[in-house]
């Protein structure tokens, strides 16, 4: 998922850098909060919203409980419809399969629509190193591709970039006039640029939102129509999907499509929802099913529920920490609450800070359209990371000492008296420094003359 060895910084370090630019952090927070509010309005319009979430969760749990059968049904029906199905054990095998398909057909120009899976597998650098030009055609993804950085959000890849910065970027990369910031003008420039890439492409690669077992179709949802543009012209369409994307029946889409766009962007449905059932006449459709740790996760309670995820990004939009720390602070392709559950399943050592990048406020679990208990999973990770020795031993010792004090009312009273005395007598600046991260931003409490216990004994006598 990330570079070997994982992100160089902990989440807290990267987040502190992001939050240090307070006006920008506020701007980022408000941009994503706007999406959260749109989601609330869209969800409120469906009287059956909570019932749909429950149904979606049930369908996913059912599917995951017999995943192999559903995948084989999908393979059989997709093959019958004329697609070729490939199985990839890991990222390396996925990349090799895609490259081989391209190389066998002499493809050197590939257009891609959005696929977080290919980000996970590192497909772009793999293909570029082998002489294939890869053009991400989702506008946000093209922007981050120009900047040479990964998406910061799975649905809104360039949400961290301001329109003025995009104006500068397009001026440099596309030769547009300097100083542009009108989104309509910038989008028009990108359309012109991408149109030439679509026309020149020899193959199109898409992600997959849902693979329908009983019809063998893959369903791709976009707002820009770029998946359709990218697959309508070239003869080769490669669709890449994680194993968890399969749903048993076409009618299940009636649940998921109603939840997906409303959760992701607050739209009733994505602008384009395309069902690819076999190749178009004269073309080829190859579907690559990728495991890359998913079947191992399937056997791992409680984290297996993370496989229910439909990648709507709602947990990112609602997360007050994500909104103020930015997607890049997580250092993984899928950031935010769901990413903080998934990343340590790959490398606990590299991503040990992520489950702590949360106040456990639980908003993520309540917006999740498939009802993943995200904040409980983050808490479970904290326990596993501590037990596995992946966290700071100093922090463990401090909390162990605190527990020893707090276990005894006598010791607590003694330490409490000392603390109240210190708060009264010592200079505030000393106390602020002594209290570390707390004192850097906040004043300490004003000490009362006595504890509740002392007072209770005075007024009620010893029991």
């Amino acid at each position: 998922m990330s570079a070997p060895g994982g992100p160089a910084r902990t989440h807290a370090e990267a987040a502190a850098l992001f939050a240090a630019d307070e006006p920008r952090a506020h701007w980022h927070d408000q941009a994503l909060w706007f999406v959260r509010v749109k989601r609330d309005r869209a969800a409120a319009q469906l009287p059956a919203w909570e019932a749909l979430r429950t149904a979606a969760e049930a369908i996913k749990q059912h599917t995951l409980s017999d995943l192999a059968t559903h995948l084989e049904t999908f393979e059989r029906n997709a093959t019958r419809a004329g697609a070729v199905v490939h199985w990839a054990r890991d990222a390396e095998e996925h990349n090799r399969i895609v490259h081989q398909l391209l190389a066998e057909r002499g493809v050197t120009r590939l257009v891609k629509s959005k696929s977080m899976l290919t980000e996970e597998c590192g497909l772009n650098p793999y293909l570029e190193a082998r002489g294939v030009e890869v053009v991400d055609t989702d506008l946000g993804e093209r922007i981050v591709q120009f900047r040479g950085e990964p998406p910061s959000h799975i649905v809104l890849p360039a949400i961290h970039i301001k329109k003025e910065e995009i104006g500068e970027l397009f001026h440099e990369k596309l030769g547009t006039a300097a100083g542009l910031s009108d989104p309509a003008v910038l989008t028009e420039a990108a359309r012109g640029h991408l149109r030439s890439k679509f026309l020149a492409a020899q193959a199109g690669l898409t992600g997959v939102n849902f693979a329908v077992a009983d019809t063998g179709a893959v369903v791709v949802c976009t707002n820009e129509g770029n998946a359709d543009m990218g697959t309508a012209l070239p003869p080769l369409h490669i669709a890449c999907m994680g194993l968890e994307k399969v749903v048993p029946r076409a009618e299940d889409l009636g649940v998921f499509l109603r939840l997906l766009a409303r959760s992701a962007t607050g739209q009733p449905v994505t602008t384009y929802t395309t069902h690819f059932t076999g190749p178009r006449p004269g073309g080829e459709l190859h579907v690559v099913l990728v495991d890359n740790g998913r079947s191992a996760l399937l056997g791992r309670e409680p984290y297996r529920r993370a496989l229910q995820c439909i990648r709507c990004g709602a947990c990112m939009n609602t997360c007050p920490v994500f909104r103020r720390s930015g997607g890049h602070s997580y250092g993984v392709p899928v950031p935010g609450p769901i990413g903080s559950v998934l990343a340590p399943t790959r490398s606990a050592a590299a991503h040990a800070s992520l489950p702590f990048a949360s106040t456990l406020c639980g908003s993520c679990a309540d917006v999740c359209p498939v009802r993943i208990d995200l904040h409980h999973q983050l808490l479970a990770w904290r326990r596993d990371l501590v037990a596995g020795g992946f966290t700071s031993s100093t922090k463990s010792r401090v909390l162990g000492l605190a527990a020893w004090v707090l276990r005894s009312p006598g010791r607590t009273q003694w330490v409490g008296r000392l603390a109240r005395l210190a708060l009264r007598l010592l200079p505030a600046a000393w106390m602020a420094r002594l209290s570390g991260g707390w004192g850097a931003h906040r004043e300490l409490p004003v000490p009362p003359p006595e504890s509740f216990r002392d007072r209770y004994r005075r007024t009620h006598g010893r029991p």
Partner: protein
Amino acid sequence: MPTVALFVPCYVDQLFPQVAVATLRLLERHGCTVAFPEAQACCGQPMANAGEAEAARPLCAHFLEVFGRYDHVVAPSGSCVGMVRDQFPDLVPGHPMLEKVRASTFELCEYLHDVLGVRAVQGRYPRTVGLHRSCHGLRGLRLGSGSERMVAPFDKVKTLLGSLEGIRLVESSRADECCGFGGTFAATEAAVSGLMGRDRLDDHLQAGAEVITGVDVSCLMHLDGLARRTGRKVELRHVAELLAGEGA
């Protein structure tokens, strides 16, 4: 009336005794016989939320032993009660008192509203008040419907507060965003925590709040510390104090 055991969170005992005093008065005013078991200690939440299960376990067991013999346990804290209900089963599974104590432990407003059936509190609080909906009370104990879920709206804390004579409740633009306290998060992710808290303060101030109240002293302590550091003028008071008519 049943005998209610008052659980006072460790830091409330030591630093915010007025909140425990108000809770005690409020319960007594509603006809409860209140006991304060002096053997009580911390519920273990600070350790448990940090993943330090081994450090938390003895505290959980101690809590069950101290409170197992009471009809009801009431605490002026959503998060400590959430700890008992949601985390104790993982930390001290199979403890003989586990299920009894889980079923009989309540957050203060929840107890007044659900167990005693109180809908209106006698008292006066003629000030402009913003309600901070602390996450563990809201989404853990479901003291309110929450802005994420599409269910019939309800808010037990607001119902009780709204019954006070003269109170003006104002709503901030984000009804239930987290304040950023988050236990050890406040120290380990101090920058984001501080930003979150200052944003909550500003949202409430913009709505016109003179006083911000809530069910968890931890959130209020964090917000108060931020307000005093940055010169934002607002009073932070626990809901028990308002319901008991203190500081009006």
